[in-house]
């Protein structure tokens, strides 16, 4: 698809030739994820995470469709139907735990995938559209995960729905009407539960569609690589199959091992005990927290405690959505022509500070809002925005980058392909700059 030297699909079997002339689906697959797609030869294991995210989505769709055969989206019986899945349905406990923990695994691999992109500059030209479609997928994932968490109709489900739809009531004038429209009532109830189920079933397929666009857009320039240097010729690439199908296979194996550990030995570790209490609109749990993958954003939401022109609550909501929408503009905030952080000594430091910042935000978001945590959340929220809006533009303008290798092959032959994250970063003298 991407390079002129890509292997052409030549079916040998007459049946396949017959099919190719009528519906060239095997040709499409061959060119997209087969031997017909040339990929940089120096990708490291961080490049597994796109495929892992795809595997996680497949697991969610399969377990989800099966769970929907046993679940009843009715506020009167939803909680009981989930308990019946756990106790009565054959292997129901396995399917539900796989679906709940599968969501966590999905977010883990997607977060690694996003930070991979940030480290290696995968959002930079000509891959801006790949990046922006990725942000769209991330937003869809968050909406899907939120609505899925409401379905068991436990206390955290109910109060999570109450709090999150409450964000919309922060919008001036029409906010409360929007909230009532979203819920189909004045508080989460039958109408809200039923529509959330409908959308929770729909959105994964929308995600799958946007993933196709994401991959389509990726295959025009081809994959980025750890050096960030463009592919210059056939010697820089290997066919996706068998090289990266095999490497991704290893990654999928490790992914499944970790998934199995979580699923079989700590299935409730990432959940909340409160969600095993049926939803009660008249009693709030003492400590409402969203699922772990929303904690950094929850911390940003809670960081605004004083009114400043606009009400504090509206600021919180704007900042929370802003923290994600900001990512759409990343390709234009970071103008450095060098992609990989291995050759960007200053940006690399700020990258790791951002990682720590987001981890602290996550920790704060999962903790109770005591004054100390609140202060920590305000500092780290401020830093998050400063990283993208102040630090990145300045660093990309002033930074003196290290010399880039002339080609991927040259870097590989010198053993400095950057396939380990720090090797080129430690030794800057890879090759003279052009």
């Amino acid at each position: 698809m991407s390079f002129p030297w890509a292997e052409e699909y030549k079916p040998k079997h007459p049946a396949m030739q017959w099919l190719d002339q009528r519906l060239p689906l095997p040709r499409l697959v061959y060119g997209a994820i087969g031997a017909g797609y040339p990929v940089p030869r120096n990708l490291n294991y961080f490049w597994n995470f796109g495929v892992l995210a795809g595997a996680a989505l497949a697991i969610q769709i399969i377990t989800g469709i099966v769970l929907a055969m046993h679940y009843a989206a009715n506020a009167g019986v939803a909680f009981d139907s989930v308990e019946s899945i756990m106790r009565d349905v054959n292997a129901g406990w396995f399917l539900r735990y796989a679906h709940a923990n599968g969501a966590s695994m999905f977010f883990i691999v997607v977060y690694v995938h996003i930070f991979r992109g940030l480290y290696y500059g995968s959002y930079k030209p000509p891959r801006e559209m790949v990046w922006m479609l990725g942000v769209v997928i991330f937003l869809l994932m968050m909406a899907t995960a939120f609505m899925g968490y409401v379905l068991p109709w436990g206390q955290m489900s109910f109060w999570g729905a109450q709090v999150i739809t409450g964000f919309f009531s922060a919008i001036p004038v029409v906010g409360e009407n929007i909230r009532i429209w979203l819920l189909g009532g004045y508080a989460p109830d039958q109408a809200a539960l039923n529509r959330f189920f409908s959308l929770h079933y729909l959105l994964p397929f929308v995600i799958a569609g946007v993933i196709i666009l994401h991959i389509w857009a990726l295959h025009i320039p081809g994959s980025n690589n750890p050096t960030g240097v463009e592919v210059k010729g056939p010697q820089d690439t290997v066919p996706f199959h068998p090289y990266y199908t095999a490497k991704d296979g290893v990654g999928v194996g490790v992914f499944l091992l970790v998934f199995a550990l979580l699923l079989f030995f700590a299935p409730n570790y990432l959940g909340h005990p409160d969600n095993y209490i049926e939803a009660n609109p008249l009693s709030t749990p003492a400590h409402i927290v969203p699922e772990w993958y929303f904690w950094p954003f929850y911390a940003i939401l809670r960081s605004f405690t004083a009114d400043f022109i606009l009400p504090a609550k509206l600021w919180g909501v704007l900042a929370m959505f802003g923290s994600i929408l900001l990512l759409f503009f990343l390709p234009w905030l970071d103008k450095s022509p060098v992609r990989s952080s291995n050759f960007r000594p200053v940006y690399r430091v700020f990258f790791w500070i951002l990682v720590v910042d987001v981890l602290v935000l996550g920790y704060v978001g999962g903790s109770e809002a005591t004054p100390v945590y609140l202060m920590l959340g305000q500092i780290t929220s401020g830093y998050y925005f400063a990283h993208f809006l102040i630090i990145l533009p300045i660093v990309s303008a002033l930074e003196r980058t290290r010399p880039l290798p002339n080609s991927i092959t040259e870097a590989v032959l010198q053993g400095k392909s950057g396939s380990r994250m720090s090797e080129t970063a430690v030794d800057g003298n890879v090759a003279p700059a052009e």
Binding site: W159, G166, I180, P281, L282, D307
Partner: protein, 200 residues
Amino acid sequence: MASVDETLENPDPFLEKEGDSEHGDTDGDVRRRDFLSIAAVSFAGVGAGVVALPLINQMNPSADVLALSTTEVDLAGIEPGQAIKTSFRKQPLFVRNLTPKEIAEAEAVPLSELRDPQTLEQRTKTGHKNWLITLGVCTHLGCVPLGAGEGENKGPFGGYFCPCHGSAYDTAARIRQGPAPKNLFVPEYEFTSDTHVTVG
């Protein structure tokens, strides 16, 4: 065939105009074909918009949900100092019979000290100043504050206390401390008799 050729050689005046306008001759006339295209697409757009209306409107509260939008409360059994929790539009509703001491406390607070300045008079009905009727929904993120039930923590201002993020309300259910921006919401209600209220 002949008639076709004839047509081609003698295009009607409308086709002639098309040729003219391409050369930048703007005599103010709208091309017939442009008009038809825009009109057709606009009409389809209006149709799509009309069909979208029910698709959007179906998400608004349905008739059975709206039917629950008034609640009758019997105040007879609530002694001064007591409160009950009932529900209005599936949300908790606090009905509280204030003691004279609580009324005095609420009235002693200067409005300048309040985040959301309102007097107790504005939050109750004339002649029924002891009946404080509010939603039990914290204006921060929607938790149910404590203080309506027997023995619950009423917080530092003697009204309600939200356990989620520590918002404290006074005896007129006005926000005094913590992250909530507003006083507890007073729904529309009226006294149908001395001991009966219709909320909504």
